[in-house]
């Protein structure tokens, strides 16, 4: 069964078409990567999945339920929250700078589960532990945490509502490489332990290779190539995918000097 079915999504801002005829499905437990350069429309796709943007055309269903555009009740929004959650790129602005890390998680839990304060606190600490944070971090403000730790808090916040799908919008792009590896390992562990699907949005093909089963490549709002991630990276069929692959810096890679005029 697929947890996400996006069909012929389209988003137009004025004269600019950000997303054009994008369709994909995500099966239960699958990890789908959406790859593309800046401005390819991949973040707009993510925002439409979460209901942060309304598609100009096309349909989205999550967990078998269609999500038509329009206002929904508070209860329906909370139900939808338990289907899909997101982790944003910027670990600095994705947390309220005045809210302590533990309160971030407890607020989510209070919103979704009837728990006593003691149970809530216990569950928040369990979540902290599952993302590799310690009890002492719960009392800290975002500015007292490193970028990697903040991203862990953001992941814990998303997991707190026990979603079926987690959208990761460039979730490791703002972190340095060693922290990236830690977070990617954490995400892989989480997927092993829980029945959760990922939509992993990235421009970084090295990262995509580690985290996803299937991938779609977007350019100028359109899907140019799709398939199994490993095959796609090994034998890209499209020139654009090849160009993206060629752009990945690797050992021995030297920048080519442009001819001086």
């Amino acid at each position: 069964m697929s947890v996400i079915e996006a069909e012929r999504l389209r988003k137009v801002y004025g004269d600019a078409t950000a997303v054009d005829e994008v369709s994909f499905t995500v099966a239960e437990g699958e990890s789908l990567a959406i790859v593309g350069e800046s401005g390819s429309g991949k973040t707009t796709v993510a925002r439409m999945l979460l209901g942060l943007e309304t598609p100009t055309a096309g349909t989205i269903s999550v967990c078998g339920r269609p999500r038509p555009p329009g206002r929904v009740s508070a209860g329906e929004r909370r139900r939808r929250a338990r289907e899909i959650q997101i982790v944003f790129q910027d670990p600095y602005s994705s947390l309220d700078r005045l809210q302590r890390a533990g309160d971030v998680i407890e607020t989510s839990l209070a919103l979704h589960f009837p728990l006593t304060p003691a149970e809530r606190r216990k569950k928040a600490l369990d979540l902290f532990e599952s993302v590799g944070l310690a009890e002492r971090h719960a009392a800290m403000l975002p500015r007292q945490l490193s970028g990697g730790q903040r991203q862990r808090v953001a992941i814990a916040r998303a997991l707190a509502v026990e979603p079926r799908v987690l959208v990761l919008d460039e979730a490791v792009a703002a972190l340095d490489v060693s922290i990236q590896a830690q977070i990617l390992n954490l995400l892989a562990d989480i997927r092993e332990q829980r029945s959760i699907s990922y939509v992993f949005i990235s421009h970084d093909l090295a990262v995509v290779n580690q985290i996803s089963d299937t991938a779609i490549v977007m350019r100028h709002g359109r899907v140019v190539e799709r398939g199994n991630t490993r095959d796609l990276l090994r034998e890209p069929q499209e020139d654009y995918t090849r160009a993206l692959l060629a752009a990945v810096p690797r050992p021995g890679w030297k920048p080519t000097r442009r001819n001086a005029q």
Binding site: L50, G51, L52, A74, R77, R78, R79, R80, A81, I84, Q85, I86, F88, Q89, D90, S93, S94, L95, D96, R97, L98, Q99, T107, S108, L111, H112, A154, R157, A158, V161
Partner: protein
């Protein structure tokens, strides 16, 4: 806090605190009843018994200054409390709702902003009659856009941050997001803008009193003292107008400096 305000900021805060303390303790500190005429002291110069002399009716100017801070400062504080509350509410609602609501609120604020505060006070005084309530209501309306416009643009910026989107995706209500997240984060800007508006409100309230439409005699009030002191000055006793005018200037300068310092850190 002290380090953020810097030397001049602390000096301004101390000065304002001292004035508030003196006016609260005026019944204990004032040498005379501020409303008691004493014909022997009418238009009297500075003496040991009356350091700032007497006004046209012989009332002690120093005592009247001490009591006068009450209306002079309380009315502007009321104006700003009401204007901040209304301005912040409008700003957050406009920034959150966006679209047409934002357009209507913003145009309304632009219209209010284009009319001088004194004019609003004149209108409400014309309806309610001279006195503090009319002045406070009129000026509160006039100062609402002063707070709202700045807070709205800050709220728009704040609203665009991912943590707000995250809270929305988590299923939090708009009210909860506005009150628990936006408002606390906007607080420094609201405070700074309100304090700097307070400086202007002090001038406007004093000006309306000077015109005879605000605080009514015989209540002691600095704006009123500048007005009655002008007559005394013509008759050779400038201390009343000078001392009241100087205090208004000092308070406005101190409040503006404080607002500026508070604004810098936010």
């Amino acid at each position: 806090m002290t380090r953020r305000l810097g030397g001049p900021g602390v000096a301004a805060a101390v000065l304002l605190a001292a004035i508030v303390a003196i006016t609260l303790l005026a019944p204990l500190l004032a040498p005379y009843n501020p409303d008691l005429p004493d014909l022997f002291n009418a238009l009297g110069g500075a003496t040991a018994a009356h350091p700032l002399g007497g006004d046209a009716l012989g009332r002690d100017v120093l005592s009247r200054l001490m009591y006068g801070a009450r209306t002079t400062l309380l009315a502007p504080v009321l104006v700003i409390c009401v204007a901040s509350a209304a301005g912040t509410t409008l700003a957050i609602v406009a920034a959150w709702a966006g679209g047409k609501v934002d357009a209507v609120v913003s145009r309304l604020l632009d219209v209010l902003f284009s009319v001088p505060g004194i004019v609003f006070a004149l209108v409400t005084v014309a309806v309610l009659g001279p006195g503090v309530p009319g002045v406070v209501i009129g000026l509160a309306v006039a100062y609402t856009p002063y707070v709202a416009r700045v807070v709205r643009s800050a709220a728009l910026r704040e609203r665009g941050l991912p943590y707000v989107a995250a809270a929305w995706v988590q299923g939090r209500s708009a009210t909860a997001i506005c009150l628990r997240h936006l408002l606390p984060n906007l607080r420094p800007i609201i405070v700074a803008q309100s304090v700097s508006a307070l400086g202007f409100a002090v001038i406007d309230v004093a000006a309306v009193s000077f015109l005879g439409l605000g605080v009514q005699p015989p209540t002691a009030d600095w704006g009123l003292m500048v007005k009655s002191g002008l007559d005394s000055a013509m008759r050779g006793q400038p201390l009343e107008a000078l001392s009241a005018g100087l205090l208004i200037a000092l308070v406005v300068a101190a409040v503006n400096l404080l607002g500026d310092r508070l604004g810098r850190q936010s």
